[in-house]
Symmetry: C2
Subunit: 576 residues, 2 copies
């Protein structure tokens, strides 16, 4: 049933292919990474003709399994120069899976200056001109597309940042209310989409159906156990639903690991004002919606709706990392401003983490003062205007830092560090340094065990145990991303052994496989191995698996710690 849809922008053709045997048994991140590793020249210009962009729902896509509708996007990253997988919620993953499209591979070189949209439906796919969408943000793009294609579709799009090939450009996915608020944010894959002249993908779910199951009863039984676990764990049942991911602000601030003013302090005096608790309170007071699922089949519902004092929609609830990037990291304590900045990022099609970090670096360079929310809005608006400064900010933290002569640039493999200071939460520091993705909390969320005591506990201040912790998380995450599950299910699978088993049971029941725990671990290791091998061929070596020198030299208040995990430990993290 499952096919790859191969789209060639050079001649504007789209055809379905059987999945080559090399790619069998893979989905989501495993599949995007395998295709990129096999088909893309690792030394190519990421926005040139030799790169490809790949979209893939996960192994559990197209089923009734809770939270299984994530979609992976892969390619050579315009930001890092290495392999990239970034995944997103929204409707596209489930729709594609139900249409039997296991992957869309977009390749070739479009005619200069032309824009296209790809319309995918049951057993059909076609490129159509989209020059009328040129220069539009994601919100206007979707509004125009809905006029033509209606409100039953799933939409994938890029904003101005993607069209202009900016290295921080994201790929946007519509949620159930057709808002382009779910993003494959990290690593600039929106620029790869832009380089293909592909402004949007329209997915018509009509005629789609649930994926066939090798053992329907076994699947049903396992999926019930899985949903039960998600409903029982306090994080997946209540914490995220009430406070969103922003629940972490107070927790990280208390831990002294909330990076403040470009990673110069671990505590922010205005933390409470931008916390999840405040976010909930404001939202309830203004009659917004604090509990919202970003995709069909979600039972966690961490994604609220942010409204202004008049009750008017501003944006989806900004994620913790977004609130952090534009809030504490820029010295800003104004949630309304942060929500507007989130909206602008979604509209231009920019990674909120990368762009917020770039802004903090610009503030360190003196372009605006830390804490100047209006100044941040003013500068971010320049991205949408396409000014030189806007393009610099849209090129990410490292380029912004280099252009403005900043000595403290918080990046690994040219990708900005997210919202957990690695000097205080050392397990996540190991992940930042060693994941093939560039600094990325979602690649191996050691924070769970370091700070939240989920899946056990490992003292976040000590070196001991961090490598093993990060490794275990990175392997497990590669599996979760390959399955197409929302990463947040891991809170339950880490603490409830049967939830973990249920995931394996569902995969086995769907495909008629008989994977054991070792096979699952081997799958995760295989995906990481594919990615690391690509990066070696792209020019990376062990020296790229390092945090910037200032994390090794500057003590972070209040705990006055440095990142001191030895290089040799980093180097053994992903050697299996």
């Amino acid at each position: 049933m499952f096919k790859i849809l191969r789209v060639n922008m050079s001649d504007q053709t789209a055809r379905f292919e059987d999945i080559p045997s090399d790619y069998e048994g893979l989905g989501g991140r495993g599949l995007t990474s395998a295709i990129v590793a096999q088909e893309v020249d690792p030394t190519c210009n990421p926005v040139g003709p030799l790169n490809k962009i790949v979209f893939a729902p996960g192994l559990l896509g197209g089923t009734n399994c809770a939270n299984s509708g994530r979609i992976s996007v892969g390619g050579k990253s315009p930001l890092t120069g290495g392999i990239k997988e970034s995944n997103s919620g929204g409707q596209a993953g489930q729709y594609l899976a139900k249409l039997g499209v296991q992957a869309i591979v977009v390749e070739g070189d479009p005619p200069a200056g032309k824009l296209f949209r790809l319309v995918v439906g049951k057993d059909k796919a076609e490129l159509q001109a989209a020059d009328d969408l040129k220069g539009l943000g994601n919100y206007d793009t979707i509004a125009k597309l809905v006029q033509v294609h209606g409100d039953k579709m799933g939409y994938v799009s890029i904003g101005q940042a993607g069209e202009w090939l900016l290295p921080s450009a994201s790929v946007a996915f519509t949620d159930r209310e057709l808002r382009p608020t779910r993003h494959a944010g990290r690593g600039g894959l929106g620029a790869v989409m832009g380089s293909k002249g592909l402004k949007a993908i329209v997915i018509d779910p009509e005629g789609g159906q649930l994926a066939p199951l090798a053992d329907r009863e076994a699947f049903k039984e396992a999926s019930k156990r899985f949903a039960k676990a998600l409903g029982e764990h306090p994080v997946t049942s209540e914490g995220l639903a009430n406070y969103g991911t922003d629940v972490l602000i107070n927790i990280l601030n208390e831990a002294g690991g909330l990076p403040t003013r470009n990673f110069s302090s671990g505590r922010f005096e205005g933390a409470e004002k931008v916390s999840g608790e405040t976010l909930n309170e404001i939202t309830v007071k203004r009659k917004g919606n604090p509990t919202h699922g970003c995709m069909s089949g979600c039972v966690i519902r961490c994604s609220g709706i942010y409204v202004d004092p008049a009750g008017k929609y501003v944006s989806k609830w900004p994620e913790y990392e977004t609130v952090w990037a534009w809030g504490p990291n820029c010295g800003v304590d104004d949630l309304d401003a942060i929500a507007r900045l989130d909206r602008m990022c979604d509209d231009f099609g920019l990674d909120t983490i990368e762009t917020g970090c770039a802004m903090a670096v610009a503030m360190e360079a003196g372009l605006k003062k830390f804490g100047d929310a209006a100044g941040a809005e003013e500068l971010l608006a320049e991205v949408g205007q396409g000014s030189a400064l806007g393009r610099v900010l849209g090129s990410g933290t490292e380029i912004t830092g280099r252009v403005f002569g900043v000595k403290r640039i918080p990046v690994v493999k040219s990708q900005s560090l997210p919202a957990y200071d690695p000097r205080v939460v050392k397990g996540i520091g190991v992940t930042y340094a060693t994941t093939p993705m560039g600094a990325d909390h979602t690649a191996g969320y050691a924070v769970a065990t370091n700070v939240l005591n989920v899946g056990g506990s490992v003292d976040p201040h000590q070196v001991e145990g961090q490598v093993e912790l990060s490794r275990a998380f990175q392997v497990a995450t590669a599996v979760i991303d390959t399955a197409g599950l929302c990463l947040f299910v891991a809170f339950a699978t880490l603490d409830i052994p049967d939830a973990n088993q249920a995931v394996t049971d569902m995969v086995n029941a769907k495909y008629g496989w008989s994977l054991g725990a070792d096979d699952v671990a081997a799958l995760g290791q295989k995906v990481l191995g594919i990615e690391r091998d690509f990066n070696v061929r792209a020019g990376f070596n062990a020296a790229d698996d390092r945090l910037p020198d200032f994390f090794r030299r500057e003590k972070l208040p209040p705990h006055d710690l440095v990142f001191d995990v030895p290089d040799a430990d980093l180097d053994r993290t992903l050697k299996f």
Copy 2:
């Protein structure tokens, strides 16, 4: 007699040290690279506290050997992220050598916002405040310094680009007429100097003396043979003196290897108008000076003086690579405009190659049209103004290309390719790909043999022989740069065996050594090995030794060739 001067910007101290035994037997590039490799953390931020900038005259510095006054500048490159040596003419090399200063090592972290000048004299060195020079270009900087220190000094300085830590910033050296026209241009070492808060170095030659010679008679005899050879070879005796390095415009255009409009053609219709012959003719007509030595002891005298129609000084004669970068590569055929652009680069303290290539990439992005000389001047002026666009251009070709979404970015290791298209002159393509310096013609000038038939001849269109050619040139160049000789002496040493022997004889006579030909080759290999090892520790591997993909895909008219030297050949080039 010889010492290292170690300058610590953290506490503003300067002290003389004996040369550690690790560094013995090295000078110039060999010495700067050895110090950087041993003392600088390869993973550090190049403009942060852990980098160092090193200045070193060569092994033959401080002698009467012709053309032996070059000075090497080394550090971790803000442009490439790898090791960098860039050398220059001017007076500083000879002055330092005669003062017995074999190297200046500048390290540490200056107080924020402060600028200093280092005043070096016979057995003395001192840091003095230089806040009055803040924001000045090199011409104004030198004018102010001359008011204080007089016209007997050698000056080293940075312009605005260095102060602002821009990755293309150069280090300027004054010539005999106190003009800051000689530059260690490539790789952004001016930004390292800026990061140390060091605006200038003032070198007082008073009390300096010729270096001691182990065998005075043998040295004298060998230096005569060497000077005789330089006087006999047609390139070093006449070609360069009459037409400057710009003599190459017509030659490369004829060869079809003159990169035009961002490497999209190998011939430029306006070549004649910017050729060395025209440069000579204009200069003679306007009563400028077509024959000028950039440093004492130069017998080649390739550096003329460019004057405007009224006979007023504009700049030194722009080098071939400068004329090319701002001329054919930008589609510009106006020598007056090119001379003004050269002057601006010298004044702001920018590498002319990197910045001209960045401009061509900006033209490809549509910021100005190819051929718009006034537009180029207008954009370059923005660097001196410090606008966002100016800072982007001053950050080099790759960052300019990425910020403006250009698919064809001609760089290796993030450094722009110079003035010889590697598809047509394949030997230089091997050098671009494999030198530890990033794309650099001076690292192994295979053009000599490929195009000029100096040192034999190797068909530039064929793959065969290019690896061996580039290797031989890279090894020999490492020796020449370590000796402190002007690279142009190689035209004579390649064709006149006794000239080559004379160089070895002079080194032996100066130091009382007995190096044979094998030892000399081993010295060159040792220097390259030190540099390559640093780069591995900085995160480079074989995949970084590649030309951008478009050189492998796009045929260059008129010969319609691609760069097709196999990767495996590149990988064996510097394996000894």
